[in-house]
């Protein structure tokens, strides 16, 4: 049967995107989860995956074209039931599928600035040879190539200004529609800080953890213990997500931010979580996130641990219903067993949705996160 592959919405207020490149051609076989196209959006260049197994029949939108969310980008022939993996390998079309895999492996390495410049100059980045680190295409490479003969029909709306507009639209909608309440609590995280220092001193550099990894895990576990914070409010009702995907707010150096999900955060050991966290931050900054990662978060963690900020009062990203904030760790006088002692403290905050929970439930949720952080070796 024929299936339409449409441009997905990658955020609450995304309206359009520009197809940058296709990773498949008609006749290619693709599997659910394969990246088939790169789409330039307000959130940078995003890898868009297909959600069915099938064979590409036709690509309907040419690279360089800006189209609204929901536009049919390609037609796929899908079979039911999907062929077993060994069957796939024995058919000639499976080769096409493997080629797709290779194409993804060899895809263009390019800095976001260079990609933007390429769009401005209408340079086809696929044809360029990069001179940057690991063969990445730099702004200079793009400028050397100069404008290509055919002008592209669309190159407006993306980039920093587009991202700023998208953030403004999503946050305005959030403040308009979501009756936020805020809670903050300052907690002694000395045991987590000490545990981290000891752990990081004992393991190879590649296995070192950041405090944010502990925070991610603590938030995810607290979501499993307390309903009403990890899910989506849509069409007038709240649905708790059966799996917790904590999104991590990543600030981009050019300005703006994105919040890709660490999938199934609660079940992952800290080491695996840290690897994924590192990977997702790198890809967010290189403009290589996947569409599914942007749509998945059931709650977001925003950590300003690298700044000198004590408290962040974060705004919920609809259709989510809660967001947890963490300020910087600071040494402060603290009273422990009647004596003033220096301790490492951190202010946790919660922005939550009054349509779903009240302050009392929010307080329990926040207290649970604090308790989990007090026992870092159990995370």
């Amino acid at each position: 049967m024929q299936t339409e592959f449409r441009l997905p919405a990658l955020g609450a207020d995304m309206e359009a995107g520009t197809i940058v490149e296709w990773h498949v051609a008609p006749g290619d076989r693709c599997k659910r989860g394969d990246v088939v196209a790169v789409v330039e959006t307000d959130k940078g260049a995003i890898d868009v995956e297909v959600f069915v197994d099938g064979i590409v029949r036709e690509l309907l939108v040419l690279p360089g074209t800006r189209v609204p969310v929901g536009t049919v980008l390609a037609l796929l022939d899908t079979e039911a039931p999907a062929p077993a993996p060994e069957m796939v390998h024995s058919t000639s079309r499976a080769r096409a599928g493997e080629d797709v895999g290779e194409a993804i492996q060899q895809r263009v390495k390019i800095s976001p600035a260079a990609r933007k410049r390429a769009q401005e100059l209408h340079v086809d980045v696929v044809s360029l040879r990069g001179t940057g680190p690991e063969g990445a295409i730099t702004v200079q490479d793009v400028e050397r190539a100069g404008p290509s003969p055919q002008p592209s029909p669309a190159n407006v709306g993306e980039g920093a200004a587009g991202m700023r507009a998208a953030i403004a639209a999503a946050m305005s909608r959030s403040k308009r529609e979501i009756p936020h309440y805020y809670l903050t609590t300052t907690v002694d995280v000395s045991s987590a800080v000490d545990w981290l220092a000891a752990h990081n001193a004992a393991v190879p550099v590649t296995e070192r953890l950041l405090l944010a990894a502990l925070l991610l895990k603590a938030v995810a576990l607290a979501c499993r213990d307390h309903a009403g914070f990890s899910g989506f409010h849509r069409n007038g009702r709240y649905e708790e997500s059966p799996v917790v995907h904590v999104g991590v707010a990543v600030a981009l150096r050019g300005g703006g931010l994105v919040a890709p999900a660490i999938m199934d955060t609660a079940t992952k050991p800290l080491a695996a979580l840290m690897d994924e966290f590192r990977d997702v931050v790198a890809r967010a900054r290189a403009g290589r996130l996947r569409a599914s990662e942007l749509a998945a978060p059931t709650i977001i963690l925003t950590s300003l641990g690298d700044s000198a900020v004590e408290t962040v009062l974060p705004i919920i990203q609809p259709p989510q219903v809660a967001i947890v904030g963490a300020g910087a760790v600071a040494e402060r006088p603290w009273i422990v067993a009647g004596r003033i002692v220096p301790r490492q403290v951190l202010t946790l905050s919660l922005g939550a949705d009054h349509r779903v929970t009240d302050g009392r439930l929010g307080a329990h949720f926040l207290a649970r996160i604090a308790a989990l952080l007090a026992n870092p070796s159990k995370l």
């Binding site: 940057g132 001193a201 550099v205 150096r253």
Partner: protein, 81 residues
């Protein structure tokens, strides 16, 4: 590897970690953090890259020595000596 080659290679590692930073815009005497928001994740990735490239294991307690290009080159030169 002389000091200049070392600085050049370190700069390549920094721009690989922060691909949105152009190498010729980096000022050697100013902390990466103050120039382009080099954060704790970047610093960790930098420490991993230095271990891979030079075999130098930089403990967390020495991260302060990696703050700027100049400091980092001086630190590495000493560790590699």
């Amino acid at each position: 590897m002389n000091r200049e080659q070392l600085a050049h290679r370190v700069l390549e590692l920094v721009t690989a970690i922060a691909p949105d930073v152009e190498a010729d815009s980096v000022i050697p005497g100013i902390a990466f953090r103050d120039q382009f928001d080099f954060d704790s994740m970047d610093t960790l990735n930098f420490a991993i890259a230095l271990q891979r490239e030079f075999g130098v294991d930089v403990p967390e307690t020495d991260y302060a020595h990696l703050a700027s290009l100049d400091q980092c080159v001086a630190y590495l030169a000493e560790r590699l000596a």
